[in-house]
Subunit: 331 residues, 2 copies
Amino acid sequence: MNIYDISKQAGVSIATVSRVLNGSDKVSPATREKVLKVMEQNSYTPNAFARSLGLNSMHTVGILCADSSDVYLASAIYYLERELRYHSYASMLCCTGYQLEEKKKYLQLLLSRNVDALFFVGSNFVEDTEKNNAYLFEAAGKVPVFILNGYLAGDNIHSVLCDDSLAVSEMTDTLIKRGSRSPVYLYRSLSYSGKRKLAGFQEACEKNGISDGKGRAFSCPAPVHDTMTFLAGLEKDLTFDACITADDELAVGAVKYALSQGKKIPAEFQVTGYNNSLLSTCSTPEITTVDNRVEFMCTTAVSLLMQVLDGKDIPARTMFSADLIHRETTN
Amino acid sequence: MNIYDISKQAGVSIATVSRVLNGSDKVSPATREKVLKVMEQNSYTPNAFARSLGLNSMHTVGILCADSSDVYLASAIYYLERELRYHSYASMLCCTGYQLEEKKKYLQLLLSRNVDALFFVGSNFVEDTEKNNAYLFEAAGKVPVFILNGYLAGDNIHSVLCDDSLAVSEMTDTLIKRGSRSPVYLYRSLSYSGKRKLAGFQEACEKNGISDGKGRAFSCPAPVHDTMTFLAGLEKDLTFDACITADDELAVGAVKYALSQGKKIPAEFQVTGYNNSLLSTCSTPEITTVDNRVEFMCTTAVSLLMQVLDGKDIPARTMFSADLIHRETTN
DNA sequence: TTGTAGGCGTTATCAG
DNA sequence: CTGATAACGCCTACAA
């Protein structure tokens, strides 16, 4: 059943059928009714592919992330998809993992579907060298590109991100004000946002006269038990009375480490997480964390995309501040 | 840049270009090289829409779930997408929430994109009445439909699910054998799988001579604090020394309730979760739970889809058993 | 092995 | 307001 069949049955031309289909106002109410009735009777639905071919768009955007089962990324995807759907765009999801070659390869999967735009969720998509970012520039040559929680300067590339540096800096500052004399900082990766967080920690250390800020930051494995082991090992070389982490999962590990060592939280040992995810409230005691406003980030990004698709000019970079959520792991 | 431009530049017909594009073996190596070179030089990519129009497929499937930020659903989506991508299918994600009208509406979003198949993740898509399931039957009239963790009999509908009833029954049985005399069961919803789990609990109660099995099962709100409040209230009317739950988040709430009341886990109070999610190990003590094998479910479903697309005949229903994971909240 | 021509189902541009 | 007709870009018999 196609537009020709409908046009025949309704006794009009395909052009008229198409007009009815697209809600054009240049159709008389009478013929409109007639056509709609025939469509109804045949439960006709227009062919999306033919439509796309003519319009060169399927009203679909691509969402790339390293791992959609990560609690933080999962919620970002949730909000993005919701907002896009609200604007009647469909979302194609693609999890690329953390390897550059895979990212490139799976980007093609999306690009080959002619998506209208691309969201790269997580700063791990921004590589260190111009050359390794070539794939992003190339993508931006075809469709508008949005980087969430990361930043890269380039034509047709837009970044929406939280001021992670400031957030960690404030958090560290607060911890020190509340009694920590020797905090350590734990991170998983040094992506763009990873570096910014680290910088925040070091800045706060410096400001508070803690000289060896650099020597107090560590890359640490994330599964809870590995984090515990790591801290237990670290204890042999270094004294520390607080643990600032780059995400809630690391914080859970830190809490469990402290509990297993019989340290009192927060009196003897303070812990902070990042992301304000479910994990932070599932822990006992509940974890003080940074709310980096995923939902705001996603709704903002989608609304910016809509403006771009409207032909408007938008800033290359939009940054917003985080919120500190005080719970039971800090004084 | 289209197939005509390439054909002109290469001095061949569009048919030949198309053959090269599709890896036909009926092209001489010489002309193939020639054509490939021209494509390369112009960094030509075929237009997906035109292609789809002829083939009537974009190699894309739709994934529906209530809420992709839910830890369990998020991991299901992750595995589904991974497997589909492996078979070079793209995934369109759509979160419908729990309202029937929304489910119907957003199903259209996917159907209107002419996806090749549909995955409904979570048994909440299967409604109580034939009439309310009409939207599923209708969808199945257009493309193969897979229901994950739920079951509905119907043409072109395939279910892949874990034997939840058996799992909860075994878990309850184990708890009783390990000392519980008065367990309660907590659930969030009575979806298909929700009902099966509940049935498992009641069956085990009966088997073990606990007469009021029905009176010991409760619908309970999920956010951790609400669960705690609920149990604290329940305590006034009922004695219970163990809490079997329908998902890990409820279990976390139960653990926190016990801790807040100073009950010793597991000596005085046992708790079990469901899903073997990150939450179960982030809790302290770590939660005994049911591993319902999300990954297996997803890889199985995708592999079944591939068989369907291959024209093979597959069973309407595939069921597999769960695994009990013993941790620190049970004796 | 290669080329021609028709079809896929729309949308859009003209005339009328 | 309506209709004819040409795109849109690719695939695939069928011919050569």
